[in-house]
């Protein structure tokens, strides 16, 4: 991956000398470290609604961000084009932060990393594909959802893709570039019966081209699953209220892990001691059944990256092993200040954002229980298999998430579906309450969007079937 093969060198005339010039301007006031982030992104979005293709959108972003670090301080500026004068101006602006720093960092000439690995080899990038083929996916989804049941009255299907070129150069002598594909198809259905309306939602995708949409991710399969959920909700009963035993199904319910545990293990919150997990490395935070991993190296996955947005290779990082906390998810700044190894988790939304420690694909490893035995072991509880979304308060550790498909478990049997059950719990203690882990780890289908400090990025989550001794369910039925 020679730098000269990147679009920035080939099409935009950026040279190695430019990179050196920008970095040296960035360090001109004595910062410890500087980096450059070039980005060229093309995205498409197409929406089908009321049986017609309502909108098609293309977006183009091009820019370069300059970051200067001085101690714990970060200066940041960017240019909305690759004009030399504008990038130099951004470098001077970012350098402002270092005006009180006595010693400056040294500049090593950026040399390309030898990148052999490609986690997302695709035959063609989404930006190069025919719009007509993307429209066809939406039409197939619409037909399949409506054919599933005549009570499906509305189908909204959307297709989005992204083709992102990035190039990173750092003052400690590294330079690398990457080209990242990303596609996603979402189908939302509304079912109506006797004046009652309910919705269902399903999606899928990954870092691939349109060939991802086969098997479980076939547009018809995604649409039928969305329709099934909407129809099911028509006969759902009100959710119970109060603490009870909860079984989470495999796959997307891993969002609990992402919210309750993952965010609390991002290094910035722990370095600043604002996380409920701060200072707990080496301590037991979960039952021995729990091993939790963040792995940015799984081929074609939505959260995977050849390198993070600071140019460091992604890793498989064991966060919790058999219940014991092993470490945090690091970006460069936190890893330096905490004297901990890099984990390749420095990510950002785009060139106008500062990188932060973020998750990639986060999941719990399989255990040895059979999922059906886990269900059978519950006398009275809730079985949650699909979720809308969740949120966490990092400091108090409290999390909340909402099940869009859940059932009562009565005497070991799955019985009535319930609507809109909200689960609320405590991140640092919820893993201690895990009493069974299934042998059926599954990753989600590729729809996760994670938000932090106003930046959204694609992620994946995963979980085997697990049983939690007690969690508070926030319904209306006492």
């Amino acid at each position: 991956m020679a730098l000269s093969n990147s679009i920035f060198f080939e099409k935009h005339g950026v040279t190695t000398r430019d990179l050196e010039g920008y970095l040296s301007e960035a360090l001109s006031r004595g910062g410890d470290y500087a980096d450059l982030y070039f980005e060229y992104r093309i995205n498409h979005s197409i929406v089908l609604e009321e049986q017609i293709i309502k909108s098609a959108t293309k977006g183009v972003s091009l820019g370069a961000g300059v970051r200067v670090i001085s101690g714990e301080k970060t200066g940041y500026a960017y240019s909305d084009d690759l004009n030399r004068q504008n990038i130099l101006k951004a470098a001077r602006t970012a350098a402002f932060i270092a005006h009180s720093s006595a010693v400056g960092g040294s500049l090593q000439i950026p040399t390309p990393l030898n990148q052999e690995r490609n986690l997302y080899p695709v035959p063609a990038f989404p930006a190069e594909l025919e719009i007509a083929a993307k429209i066809r996916l939406l039409q197939l989804s619409n037909e399949a959802a409506r054919a599933y049941d005549p009570r499906i009255k509305q189908v909204q299907a959307s297709y989005v893709d992204e083709t992102k070129h990035i190039l990173i150069a750092t003052s400690d002598g590294r330079a690398a570039w990457d080209l990242q594909p990303l596609v996603r198809l979402n189908v939302m259905c509304i079912a109506e019966e006797n004046g009652q309306r309910q919705s269902g939602y399903q999606g899928g995708g990954g870092r691939r081209a349109l060939d991802v949409f086969t098997g479980d991710l076939d547009p018809g399969a995604i649409a039928r699953e969305s329709a099934r959920q909407a129809i099911l909700q028509l006969r759902a009963i009100d959710a119970p209220a109060g603490p009870m035993e909860v079984v989470l199904g495999p796959g997307w319910p891993g969002i609990l892990l992402h919210e309750a545990i993952g965010h609390g293990l991002e290094a910035d919150f722990n370095r600043k001691k604002t996380s409920a997990f701060a200072g707990l490395v080496g301590q037991k935070v979960g039952s021995e059944l729990c091993t939790v991993v963040d792995d940015g190296t799984i081929p074609f996955r939505r959260g995977s990256l050849n390198m993070d947005d600071e140019g460091n290779p992604t890793h498989q990082t064991v966060l919790i092993e058999k219940g014991v906390l092993q470490g945090y998810l690091q970006d460069r700044l936190s890893s330096k200040l905490m004297k901990a190894p890099l984990t390749g988790n420095g990510r950002r939304q785009s060139y106008d954002h500062i990188p932060l420690p973020r998750m990639t694909n986060t999941f719990m490893m399989s255990g040895d229980s059979a999922p059906e035995d886990i269900i059978k072991s519950v006398t009275k509880g809730l079985y949650a298999v699909h979720f809308g979304g969740g949120q966490v308060d990092i400091t108090s550790g409290k999390f909340v998430f909402t099940a869009s498909e859940a059932y009562l478990i009565e005497n070991g049997q799955i019985t009535a579906p319930v609507k809109g059950a909200t689960l609320i719990g405590d991140g640092p203690t919820v893993l201690r309450q895990v009493t069974a882990v299934g042998n059926d780890l599954k990753l989600d289908q590729g729809v996760g969007i994670c938000g932090k400090e106003g930046q959204t990025i694609p992620v994946s989550v995963g979980l085997p079937t697990i049983k939690i001794r007690e969690i508070t369910v926030g319904g209306t039925e006492k």
Partner: protein
């Protein structure tokens, strides 16, 4: 970059016509931004930039496509215009599509006092010191404040220009600033954070840094020692920040796009009583120096004041040109361009009008109940109105605050909640384009221990 925005938009419009578009509109936004976060008296991040984006929408008869770019240099934009017209050939005929009717456009715009040039006289060091003073005040409030997620000052000066193929051109400029403080309080057994913020277009609209820091600290400290409470059904009082999230749900429910999709619990109810008679909600784009004010919306429709709910009765939905045609209504000036360039419905200054009660009168009226200060999670179903969110608050007994509460949910249905609003406070608090006062709702289920 020496071209005026009027020249650039005109060039885009000309190019779109030349490529075969039968109609088009283009909007350019230019933001000059400065933001600083100070944590434990030191600068943590400092960010400064000028960002631009161009958003284009073209029509080929009743087919449409949109595009957006951050690169507004001539050749890039010309190619994108051509590609957008090509893309429109692949979308479907939509009988409601098109620019707003020409009759809606005006040439004269009200001066809404959106710009405060005095912000420019503040040096970077003075801007940084606003954040430093805010955080310092939080730390000095009480020794229980032991840590901080920082205090931030954010400022933007924005220019917006809009042109279309009917000959409409408009532009406006405004400033916005916000000062936010997030302190962390610690006791032996617990750690809690909370925040307070103030935002405005003019320097005079912002609360003093010391005031913001002190309020934020007080909010974090009062959460220390929070506990779960047993499942029960009691009156709920929402503080203005948490009540604001309820207004956000109502905004979504009255958006024309949710109405034509029939994905709102308020569909087909114009003229009906949907809330208690104390509830009056207005979307007011003409509020002087309002954070959500603008002389025209992102399609060029002039600023309006739209009654949404009057004394409990639903009066209007919010419309852009497209939803208005679909629902046979008038556009209300709520067309809002997402970053992608697609026009959706946005709030201007969407707020619940103040009532007669002081906040402490409302608290004193509660025998046992929960005063909610924060809501988390996404447990709201807009189709059915089912509502269940995680809550943090303070338990009220005999009209007085007793102890903080966390790890509970409050649940109900938005239809019932709106009708059960029993008291409306006199303390509407604007920190964005959606605002509310303190609100008391008759009864909701709290799910806890």
């Amino acid at each position: 970059m020496t071209h005026s925005l009027e020249d650039i938009t005109q060039q885009v419009i000309d190019r779109a016509k030349k490529s075969g578009a039968t109609a088009a509109d283009v909007m350019i936004r230019e933001d000059d931004t400065f933001s600083v976060t100070v944590r434990i008296a030191e600068i943590e991040t400092l960010k400064e930039a000028i960002s631009r984006s161009l958003m284009l929408r073209v029509f080929l008869g009743q087919r449409t496509a949109t595009s957006h770019t951050s690169d507004i240099s001539g050749p890039v934009v010309e190619r994108l215009v051509d590609e957008t017209v090509e893309m429109a050939r692949l979308t479907s005929e939509d009988e409601s599509g098109g620019l707003p009717e020409t009759a809606f456009f005006q040439n004269h715009f009200p001066d809404l006092n959106l710009l405060d040039p005095s912000w420019e006289t503040l040096t970077p060091d003075e801007r940084i010191s606003l954040a430093v003073r805010t955080e310092k005040a939080a730390f000095e409030t009480d020794k229980a404040i032991t840590n901080s997620e920082g205090a931030s000052f954010e400022y933007a000066r924005s220019r917006v220009a809009l042109a279309n193929t009917t000959g409409f051109f408009g532009e406006y400029e405004g400033t916005t600033a916000a000062l936010v403080c997030i302190p962390i309080a610690k006791s032996n057994s617990s750690m809690q954070r909370d925040y307070w913020m103030s935002a405005g277009r003019h320097r005079s609209q912002l609360e003093a840094p010391e005031e913001i820091g002190k309020k934020a600290a007080g909010r974090a400290i009062r959460r220390l020692g929070a506990r779960k409470i047993p499942t029960c059904q009691v009156p709920i009082v929402f503080d203005p920040l948490s009540a604001r999230s309820l207004l956000n749900h109502i905004f979504e429910a009255v958006s024309g796009s949710a109405i034509y999709r029939r994905s709102s619990f308020l569909v087909d109810q114009i003229g009906e009583t949907v809330a208690s008679s104390d509830v009056t909600i207005v979307d007011d784009a003409r509020r002087p120096a309002g954070l959500g004010s603008s002389p025209f919306d992102d399609e060029g429709i002039p600023a309006q004041t739209t009654p949404i709910i009057e004394r409990g009765v639903l009066r209007n939905y919010l419309q852009c040109a497209y939803t208005a045609r679909k629902l046979r209504a008038r556009p209300t000036g709520n067309g809002s361009r997402a970053a992608s360039g697609v026009v959706t419905i946005g709030p201007t200054n969407f707020h619940l009008k103040e009532g007669t009660y002081a906040p402490d009168e409302i608290i004193r009226s509660v025998e046992t109940g929960l005063y909610v200060v924060e809501l988390i999670g996404f447990g709201v179903n807009m189709v059915t109105g089912d509502y269940s969110r995680g809550a943090v608050g303070i338990w009220i007994e005999n009209g007085e605050f007793k102890y903080p509460v966390q790890e509970v949910t409050i649940a109900g249905n938005l239809r019932g909640m709106l009708k059960n609003i029993e008291m409306v406070g006199n303390d509407v608090t604007f920190v964005g384009s959606i605002a509310a006062p303190t609100l008391k709702i008759g009864k909701m289920v709290i799910s806890g221990a």
